[in-house]
Amino acid sequence: MVLVYAESHEGKFKKAALEAVAYGNETAKVLGTECAAVVIGDANEAGTLGQYGASAVHHISSDNLAHFDSQTYAAALSGAATALGAKVVILAHNSAGKSLAGRIAVKLSAGCVTAANAVPTNDGAFKVKKNVFAGKAVADYQIDSDVKVLTLSGNSIKPEVVGADITVSPLSVDVPASKIKVISTNKQQGDTAPLPEAELVVSAGRGMKDPGNWGIIEDLANAIGATTACSRPVADIGWRPHHEHVGQTGVAIKPNLYIAAGISGAIQHLAGVNSSKCIVVINKDPEAPFFKAADYGVCADLFDVVPKLTEAIKKAKAKTIY
C-alpha cells in the first residue's frame, strides 16, 4: 500500500496535499496496489481526498499533534505506515514534508528520495527521478529498501478528480508529547499563493534601479494574479523581502509562467527558475544570458514594456469576459 500524508490547514487541503494524493494514486497503480491518505487534526473535509485517488482516508487525532513538530508528526505517520503495512510513504516537498521525510526514513529503515518530480517506475527495481545540480541534470534514483519515503516536488502532477468522496476512519497511534513550544505564528498578509506553490510568478532584478519602481511589477502581478519574486542582489540590499529571492540559494520554483524583468539570468538565478514551464524575459540588453533560457523574449526598456504588457493583459481579459 502507498500512504500519503495529506497536510491540512484548518481542515482545508492546499494544492500540495492534493498533488501528493494524486501522485500517491499513480504510484500505487505502478505497484499494483492502493493509495491511502492520512490526515492529522481537523478531518471534516478529509473524505474529499477520495476524489483525487485515495481509496481510504485515515484520521489521526491527538492532543500531542496540536502544533507541527517533526518529532511527534513523524512518530504519528511512521506509526500509521507500520500499522497499515505501507510500502511507500509520500509527503509534499514543502516545509512540513521536508522536515518529516528524513525522520520517517530513519524510523522505517527506508530509503528516501526528496523532491521527486515524476511517477516512479518499477521494472525489477524501484526508481524515481528528481532534478539535481540546480536543474542542470536529472537523476534517476534507485531505492533498494523494502519501505520507501518520497517527497513530491510542487507542480509535478496535476490533481484531477478521479473518484468520489469516501468515509474517513479513525486511526489510533502512539504519539509522544512535543518538546517544542510554539510562541507565535506569523503569516504574511496577501491573498496570492506563497512562492513555492505559485503557478504564475512575476520577478524583477537590479534593472529596476530603485525599490520605489516596483509598482509596475506589482501591477503586472495583480493583473494576472501572480506572486512576486526577485533576484538575490535585490533582496540582499533590502529592496525586496528575503522570502522573495529565487535561485540556487533562494527558493526554487517551477511555476507555469515565470516573467523576469531586469534580471540578467546569472547561472545561480536560472538554477532556481529553469524548471518553469514557460519563461518570459524582458531585458534591454540583447546579450543578457537569460534570453537563452527563455521561451519568449522582449528586448526593450522594462519601464516602457512592463506597463504595456499589463495593459495588453487587462485588454485581453476584458475581451474574454464579454
Partner: protein
C-alpha cells in the same frame, strides 16, 4: 555550550555538469568545490556568533575524503575551534546522518544547512535528529540561546513561526540567520594549527543510489517579441504556451 556544525562541499555554482561511468557518476575532473553556502554563510557563522556571545565551542564535522580538508580548513578559518572528518565517501544522506549521529554525543546544538545546493536533499538534519531522538527545527532563520533554551524562528509557507525548545537540539539553517563572513589572514593562519581529527566510518546504510544521470532536454529556443506588440505576447501566452 558545545555546537556541532555539519558542513558539506558542493561544486562551485558555475561548475560544468558532466557525467562518467556510463552516466552513473558525476565527473569531478576540473571542478572547483566550495563549502555548501547554507552551511558556511548561515549555520557556521551563526554558531561562531553564538560562541562569541555565550562562550562554548564550535566543532565542524564533514563526512568525506581527504580532499575535503581544504573546505574544512576554511571553516576553521571562519572561526570553528576544531574539526572532525569521517573518512568515507558520503554515499547517501542516511549514511552521512549515521556518521554524524555517531560523533554527536555531548553536543548541545547540532546545526546543518537547510539543504545542499547540488542534490537538494534536505534530509540529513532530520535524520540526525531522529537518530539522536531530539527535536529538530528546520529552515531556521534566527536562533538565540538563553541558558539551555533556544528561541528559534523558522520559515513556513507564507510566513514564519517562533518557538522555544531546550537543548539537545538539531536545527537546519536558512537565509537570514547570519551574514556571510570572509575569513581574514589571522583566521587563516590560526586554522592551520587547529585540530582536524580524522575518524573511520562507523558502519552505515546505503538504501538509495543514483542509477543514471541525464541532462535535461534543450529549450526550443527563444521567440523574440516586438516590444510595441504586447498583444502578440499575451496571445502567445494564452494560445501557444497556454499558461494565462
Amino acid at each position: 555550550m558545545k555546537i556541532l556544525v555539519c558542513i558539506s562541499k558542493t561544486p562551485e555554482t558555475t561548475a560544468k555538469i558532466a557525467f562518467k561511468d556510463g552516466n552513473t557518476a558525476y565527473d569531478e575532473s576540473g571542478v572547483q568545490f566550495i563549502m555548501n553556502p547554507y552551511d558556511e554563510w548561515y549555520a557556521l557563522v551563526r554558531a561562531v556568533e553564538l560562541k562569541e556571545a555565550n562562550g562554548g565551542t564550535v566543532t565542524v564535522i564533514n563526512v568525506g575524503p581527504a580532499t575535503n580538508d581544504v573546505v574544512i580548513r576554511k571553516a576553521l578559518a571562519i572561526g570553528a575551534d576544531d574539526a572532525i572528518r569521517v573518512d568515507a565517501e558520503p554515499t547517501s544522506a542516511m549514511f552521512v546522518a549515521q556518521q554524524i549521529a555517531a560523533q554527536a554525543s555531548g553536543f548541545d546544538l547540532v546545526m546543518t544547512g537547510k539543504e545542499t545546493i547540488d542534490y537538494n536533499g534536505s534530509e540529513v538534519g532530520a535524520m540526525v535528529a531522529e537518530l539522536l531522538e531530539v527535536p529538530y527545527v528546520s529552515y531556521a532563520t534566527a536562533i538565540d540561546m538563553s541558558g539551555n533554551t533556544a528561541t528559534v524562528t523558522r520559515e513556513i509557507e507564507g510566513g514564519n513561526e517562533v518557538s522555544e525548545v531546550t537543548t539537545p537540539l538539531v536545527i537546519s539553517a536558512a537565509k537570514g540567520m547570519a551574514e556571510q563572513r570572509i575569513p581574514n589572514m589571522r583566521g587563516i593562519m590560526m586554522a592551520k594549527r587547529k585540530p582536524l581529527n580524522v575518524v573511520a566510518a562507523a558502519g552505515g546504510d546505503n538504501l538509495v543510489k543514483v542509477a543514471a544521470f541525464a541532462l535535461p532536454a534543450d529549450k526550443a529556443g527563444v521567440k523574440m517579441i516586438d516590444p510595441d506588440n504586447m498583444d502578440e505576447l499575451v496571445r502567445l501566452l494564452q494560445e501557444e504556451a497556454k499558461v494565462l
